[in-house]
Structure formats: structure tokens, C-alpha cells
Amino acid sequence: MKVLVCVKRVPSPGSLINITADGQDVDATHLGFAMSPHEECAVEEAIRLVEQHGGESTVLTVGPPEAEEQLRYSASLGVQRAVLVRTDGRPWDPQRTAQAISTAIETIEAANGPFDLILFGNESADAGGFQVGVRVANSLDRPMVNAIKDIEVDPAASTCTAKREVDGGREVYQLPTPAVLGVKEGLNLPRYPTMKGRLASKKTEVAVLDIQSQPGGQQRLRLAQPPTTTSNTITLGEGPAAAPDVVDLLEQLALL
């Protein structure tokens, strides 16, 4: 089977996110980059599905040339092919991103045949638009369900069973393949790259696509910090000697 995973390069902030002077983007000067957490699980799932059923996995990103880092990281884990849809580095709105990905998929599929499964993260860690996967599925006319935490594929029957966590349990979906799923962290525990994998990933060929796309209806004006939630922290004490004060607090909050 053929599995495609779409990932996004995002900054990895610690306890603070700074904004650039022009307010247009996150100031990532001192930050590392990673793919969004949900997508790490999507990459892991693609590798496992190919290990289980045979076939080939491909990772695709829309981003600046530096996003090659996330493609090679995926390759170091075991993804076989990598595709970079190049941007000028400025953030694209969700419609534009989806349009570019759809066109890229059509281009790849025209040459290599259809992907049985296309995986997205449920939402990106930064912009969090909650829609790119849905739009791509709609444009390719494939079934799509989001928020998936369990996937089983039956290649012989051309179906996949996907489960979504909801209040009080899980909903089960059964989609005909080719299908598109948006997954959430917790789907699996992603592996770490091996030294051998890291070395091999340096040789992975990254196919670069330049795709014409048009801006959509949502336009970013600026980013802003939310009102600060300062708290005058009351220090109850230091070390185990603070235990009576902690229990007093529990009593005060009527938790005992």
C-alpha cells in the first residue's frame, strides 16, 4: 500500500512565544523547529502501516527550503520518499495550502498511482486552522475523518477502520480507501531515529515542486500576545516542611 503523510514545519517554543517586530510571524531566531506533534504520530503510523502491509511511504510538506529538515527527519525514521512544495517562507492561508497540496498529490499520483491513505495531523501546532486535510479530501473527492486515534487498514478489502475519541468512549468509522485521515497525538508512540537512519536520510532525494496557488479569503493582519495572566504566586514553603501548609490549602479549598 502507498501512504502519504503531510507535515508542517513549526517553531518549538518553550514557555514563551515572541513575535517579530512587524507582527507578521513568530520570532523563531532562538528556536528550533519540528513538525507539529500530531504529525509525528502520522509519520510513525505511515511507517508502521508499510512495515505491516508492505508498500511505500511518502512525506510531503509545504514550506520554505529549510523544511527539508522535517522531511529528512521523517526519512531518518523510515519514510522512503520526500516532497517539498516550496513557498517563499511567508505563511500561507489554509485554502492556499490545501490547494497546493491537492495539486501536488494529483501530480505525484499521475506518475506513481494513487495513495491508499493520506494522513494529516488534526491541526497544526502554530496556526491551528483545522481544515487543510478536510479541504484536500474534498478536492480529491475522498472520504475524510478527523481526530483519529486508532487506524487499521485492510488492503484486501480496500477499507480502513478508524476510531475517534469522544466524551464517553470512541466512535468507529469504516472508510473505503483511498481515504484521508486527520490524526491526533496518542495514536502511537513515535520512534526515535537510529544512527543508521540518520545517515541514510542524508541521501534521500527530496523532490521539489513549485506550484502556482492563489491566496484564499483569510488574511493575517498581525499576531498579538494575549493579555498577560500574571499571578502573585503565594509560596507556601520549601521542601517537605511545607506539607502542613499544603494540607491547610486542601482544607481551605474544601477538597478533603
Binding site: P37, V172, G217
Partner: protein, 327 residues
């Protein structure tokens, strides 16, 4: 501005509380613009009186055999069709998992923008000139001001960003059944089965959460946290570092990619308070941080703090609780 349409999120006929947040958000906009509030219900609904109490004047009851249970495509296409029929200026839902998914599907089908997790739309929005809105990014850690250019504005309201409140007055809503034309193929994404979880206190609803971070060091180190949580009728939570290390299952993760908690007390032990974690914990009513570092972000943002090693502090707290109980 013509109408304002709100998608009602039901689960097997029961209206989800998040819907009332969207209605509470929508009501003043409709009042200011002097337009009526419409609501779409897909399939069965147990109680549409509650919609009236929240200001809905017209309920569009979509009736179709393919709406017997939730399906993102059947719901999304139903919404898109209703939008084409009644031509609302603004379409809203709560930014839950399903709310965002259904709005995205409808917007994709209509070929228009969709903006997820908004906090505000400006008054200019009503003039349909320079519509501005504010939405959240990074799970709520950053705000984005944006323009939205679309013939129908489709947005979701950030979940938990406001408290739902009923309208001052309500009347019996006008209920109009309508039958969407749904392509049979869309049955491919309808729920086929449900797995019921064990009943009990969940992380999301626990009155007390005792959380552990990277400083826990191992899976075994969580035993005292388990004991404290059990004494307080609460649950154990953890940071992403912990689940990435495999010390706890992902279902225990508090954070942007885990569970958003809102307990009466969150005891954050050995947790630095990175954005990823803070976003999931910030709705806690009280936070007690236990950390060796008095400058840790979690300590600075907490209501209360104990500066010390959690491996010593937590057992001491348990002993003190037991001592007082024995008295």
C-alpha cells in the same frame, strides 16, 4: 446582513453544551444587526426548547435517513446546502473537534474561507466592509488578527472562551424540517459503531489533577502521585515529556495535544510549564506548583507554590493528610 446561522452539535440527539457557547457568542451580533438567529439541527434532537432559551428564532431540522448518526461529510454537505438556501451572512459553530470539522467540510464544498477558533469579530463585520476578527493560535497562547473575505463568513468560536448564558427572553422557535439532497456515497464517513468507555472520573472532569513532568524521571515515580490523586478523588496527569518517554499513556497528557483540564486544583509537580503544557492547564481554578526552580514558568503562573523536590514534598503531603485523618 441577512441571517445568522448556528450549527447545533448534537451527539445521538443530545445538544452538546459547547453549542450554547456559540449561541451566546452569536446572540449580541444578531441583536446589534437586527437579524434573527437560525439554527441547523442534523437529524434528531431531544430538546429544541433549550435552543429557544438561548435565543434561536428558527430551527432548521434536517431530515434524512443518512443523518441517523454523525458523519462529517453528511453534516458538512447538509450545512452547505442550507447555506445555499437561506443565504446567511454569518455561520457559526463552537470550535470543538466536530464543529471545526463540519464547518471546514461545508466551507470546502462551497469554496469559501473558514476561520477556526475565533474570540471576536469586529462591528465592521456587520457592514461587510473590512471584516476583522481575532482568533487564537498555538492552542490559545497567541492571538491572530485577520481579515476575512468571503460571500458567507464561516467561523468557529474558540471552545471555552466564553461562558454560555441563556437569553433574557425566549419564545417558541419556528421549526422547519428540510430534506437535504445527500449523495449516497457520503455514507462512507458515518459512524458505524460506538465503544463505550468505563464510567468514572476522567482527566477532563476530575476535581483535582495531580500532574508530573520530566522531573518524575520514571514511570515508577508516579506511585506517590497516584496515591495523592486517589486520596483527593482526582486523577493523575502528565506533561508531553512524560508521554514521549513512555512513562504514562497519552490519555494522561495535559496539554495542547492532550487533554484540556479545568479542575478545582491542579498540583503540577516537576513541570516547567512550557506553552504546550500550560495551554492544557490554564483553565484550572487553582494551581499549586511543586518545583525546585522558583523561576520555573509554572511556579510564576501558579496561584501557590512549594519550592522543593517533588519526590520529597508529595510523600510528605500524603503523610500529613493521613496523620490528620487518623486524628
Amino acid at each position: 446582513m441577512t441571517h445568522l446561522l448556528v450549527l447545533v452539535e448534537t451527539d445521538q440527539g443530545v445538544t452538546q453544551p459547547a453549542t450554547f457557547e456559540a449561541l451566546t457568542f452569536a446572540r449580541p451580533i444578531a441583536e446589534t444587526a437586527g437579524v434573527e438567529l437560525h439554527a441547523l439541527v442534523c437529524g434528531e434532537i431531544a430538546d429544541h426548547g433549550a435552543l429557544a432559551e438561548h435565543g434561536v428564532a428558527h430551527v432548521h431540522l434536517a431530515q434524512h435517513e443518512m443523518l441517523h448518526d454523525f458523519g462529517p461529510e453528511t453534516w458538512g454537505h447538509t450545512l452547505a446546502e442550507l447555506i445555499e438556501i437561506i443565504e446567511p451572512s454569518l455561520v457559526l459553530a463552537s470550535g470543538t473537534s466536530k464543529g471545526n470539522e463540519v464547518l471546514a467540510t461545508a466551507a470546502a464544498r462551497l469554496g469559501v474561507a473558514f476561520v477556526a477558533n475565533c474570540l471576536k469579530i469586529s462591528d465592521d463585520f456587520l457592514d461587510e466592509a473590512a471584516p476583522d476578527l481575532v482568533r487564537v493560535q498555538w492552542g490559545g497562547s497567541l492571538l491572530e488578527e485577520a481579515k476575512l473575505d468571503a460571500p458567507v463568513k464561516i467561523i468557529s468560536v474558540a471552545h471555552h472562551s466564553l461562558d454560555a448564558a441563556p437569553a433574557h427572553s425566549s419564545s417558541t422557535p419556528d421549526v422547519k424540517p428540510f430534506r437535504p439532497t445527500l449523495d449516497e456515497r457520503l455514507a462512507r464517513t458515518i459512524v458505524v459503531q460506538r465503544e463505550i468507555a468505563e464510567a468514572g472520573v476522567t482527566l477532563a472532569t476530575a476535581p483535582v489533577v495531580v500532574g508530573g513532568g520530566r522531573a518524575m524521571g520514571s514511570a515508577e515515580a508516579f506511585a506517590p502521585l497516584e496515591e495523592l490523586a486517589s486520596l483527593l478523588g482526582g486523577r493523575v496527569g502528565c506533561s508531553r515529556a512524560v508521554t514521549n518517554n513512555g512513562w504514562r499513556p497519552h490519555s494522561d497528557q495535559v496539554g495542547q495535544t492532550g487533554t484540556r483540564i479545568a479542575p478545582d486544583l491542579y498540583i503540577a509537580s516537576g513541570i516547567s510549564g512550557a506553552i504546550q503544557h500550560w495551554v492544557g492547564a490554564m483553565a484550572s481554578k487553582n494551581i499549586l506548583a511543586v518545583n525546585t526552580d522558583p523561576e520555573a514558568n509554572m511556579v510564576l503562573k501558579a496561584d501557590y507554590a512549594v519550592i522543593g523536590d517533588l519526590h520529597e514534598v508529595i510523600p510528605a503531603v500524603i503523610d500529613e493528610m493521613k496523620r490528620r485523618r487518623a486524628q
